[in-house]
């Protein structure tokens, strides 16, 4: 089987309130990826548009974007799996290319969360869970992940300080990322001082500083067949492994609360397809929508044994200079989390790392990179492995 490559990546700056429309936002990530790949719009044979649609006023944005981005009359369609939409878009593009249906496909993720108020946004996020049986209790994303945090602490002795260390790391690198929404430093003292905003309670045991920031943003990944990649691109990054999994939306249907089964299953598939293991990963982007999510990712991806994720952050093993650098672009915590754009932004970071074009956050000579992108509260899991 021939290979499939990523030949261009781009993203907008992630911002608190984008001063433009969704089609203009999508253009920003698309423009950067197209310039990166040195393509014209005629070269793109199809586009896959990814977001969580309940934030959009525009119905069926795919058709609107295709026209605005100059991608008529090529086909376009929509892919949605909450926060992992654009990783699912990558999976879709891989299948389109590998099937021979198209040679070059653009995966465009976007979210303009500021189209609606913060309270409305929280209500919609609660409805990313089971609206029949759980949402009537007043559920929200932070509270669900907080339940995982509580269970992890009870089972493994993980502490609030361990979680704060993950936030401190994210902020260390967020300051170096000129696309990040949050570029200030964060210290342990910020998360422990009762009067500090970062220490404010959200959903116990999680604090303000444990939660990622809502943001508006877009991302774009250009996927190509091996033949086209050889023509268009000097440094193609190859898709080595793709994994995807689902579980019960209702927590009552689950058995594991110290990790995410979808991440374990998706990583098992991706490692198998790529023919590599956790020790082969040189740089990783994980879905740190909350600090506990990164802790669980360490364990679910096999970077640490279950319960030992805290040792990785305590020893700074996941810093840029460590054996397994994780989220050296600031992660969702500092870079921001525009739902549909997040997976594409994570992929962009790994592609730039593997091309050794990551600037101040470049890790030393990485060969293999991994993206872990989760939709909902561990409802959808995507793990993708890339090599140069």
């Amino acid at each position: 089987m021939s290979r499939v490559a990523i030949i261009g990546v781009g993203q907008s700056e992630f911002v608190r309130a984008y001063p433009g429309s969704v089609r203009e936002l999508a253009f920003e990530g698309f423009k950067e990826a197209m310039r990166d790949a040195r393509l014209t719009t005629k070269d793109v044979q199809a586009s896959v548009i990814c977001s969580a649609p309940e934030y959009d006023k525009q119905r069926s944005p795919a058709g609107v974007f295709a026209e605005y981005l100059g991608l008529n009359p090529q086909p376009t369609f929509y892919v949605e799996s909450l926060c992992s939409s654009s990783s699912m878009g990558l999976r879709t593009a891989y299948a389109l290319v590998q099937s021979g249906l198209h040679d070059v496909v653009a995966v465009i993720g976007f979210q303009k969360m500021s189209e609606i108020s913060s309270a409305e946004s929280q209500e919609r996020m609660g409805r990313g869970a089971d609206i029949q049986w759980e949402s009537p209790f007043g559920t929200m994303m932070p509270a669900y992940y907080a339940m995982y945090a509580r269970a992890h602490m009870a089972a493994h002795g993980t502490t609030l300080e361990d979680l704060a260390l993950i936030r401190v790391k994210a902020a260390t690198y967020g300051q170096l990322n000129d696309k990040a929404v949050y570029r200030k430093p964060v210290t342990l003292a910020n998360l422990s001082h009762p009067e500090d905003r970062m220490a404010g309670p959200v959903a116990s045991p999680l604090r303000v500083g444990d939660c990622c920031a809502n943001a508006d943003g877009s991302s774009c990944v250009i996927v190509a067949s091996e033949e086209k990649a050889r023509v268009y691109c000097k440094k193609p990054v190859w898709i080595l492994g793709l994994g995807a999994a689902t579980t019960s939306v209702n927590l009552a249907g689950r058995d594991l609360f110290t990790g995410l089964t979808v991440a374990r299953e998706a990583s098992r598939q991706a490692y198998k397809m790529a023919g590599v293991g956790p020790k082969d990963i040189d740089v990783a982007e994980v879905h740190d929508c909350f600090t506990i999510a990164e802790m669980m990712a360490y364990e679910d991806l096999g970077f640490a044994k279950p319960g030992e994720g805290k040792e990785l952050i305590r020893s700074k093993a996941t810093y840029k200079e460590g054996p397994i650098p994780v989220n050296v672009d600031g992660g969702l915590l500092s870079k921001g989390h525009p739902i549909g754009a997040t997976g594409g932004s994570q992929i962009r970071t790994i592609v730039l790392q593997l091309r050794e074009e990551a600037g101040p956050i470049q890790v030393k000579s990485p060969e293999i990179g991994l993206v872990h992108n989760i939709g909902g509260v561990g409802l959808y899991g995507n793990v993708s492995i890339f090599g140069r």
Partner: protein
């Protein structure tokens, strides 16, 4: 003129804000009205479902009977919310939680009268029906 057919919207009564009005599991509300929390069991294979469902994916059939949730479960985890989503602002603070009954689990809230200091992962709790100030019905967990 033909008479408008009345729809069975009992499920609108579930929780502070219900997002569902039509479901084949509407009898769940009748059980709540009687003070009981009920799940469903497939008459063909015996599989139990909580929350209840009308259809068994194992048998590809819809032969369900109701059973009542009794006894106590173990507290798997919980979180106290300081902010609520739209429609729930008047309820905060409140704690959501999960109880493990062995054969099934129940997701809900912890009763407001349970002292925060007493709540710990692993503790036995039971599920009781609760009538909210706005007349809606839900269920909460209290010490077993």
């Amino acid at each position: 003129m033909a008479e408008k057919k009345e729809s069975d919207e009992r499920f609108k009564k579930f929780g502070t804000v219900s997002f569902t009005s039509l479901t084949k599991t509407n009898d769940f509300i009748d059980y709540l009205e009687k003070g009981a929390i009920a799940g469903t069991r497939c008459k063909d294979c015996g599989r139990v479902f909580f929350p209840p469902r009308a259809d068994c994916f194992q048998c590809l059939a819809s032969h369900m009977e109701w059973f009542e949730v009794t006894g106590s479960g173990r507290l798997v985890s919980f979180s106290k919310l300081e902010y609520g989503p739209a429609g729930f602002q008047d309820d905060v603070p409140y704690s959501i939680a999960l109880l493990d009954y062995g054969a099934f689990k129940v997701f809900g809230r912890i009763g407001k009268e349970v002292p925060a200091a007493d709540i710990a992962v692993g503790m036995p709790m039971k599920t009781i029906v609760n009538r909210l100030p706005n007349g809606q019905l839900n269920y909460v967990f209290v010490k077993a």
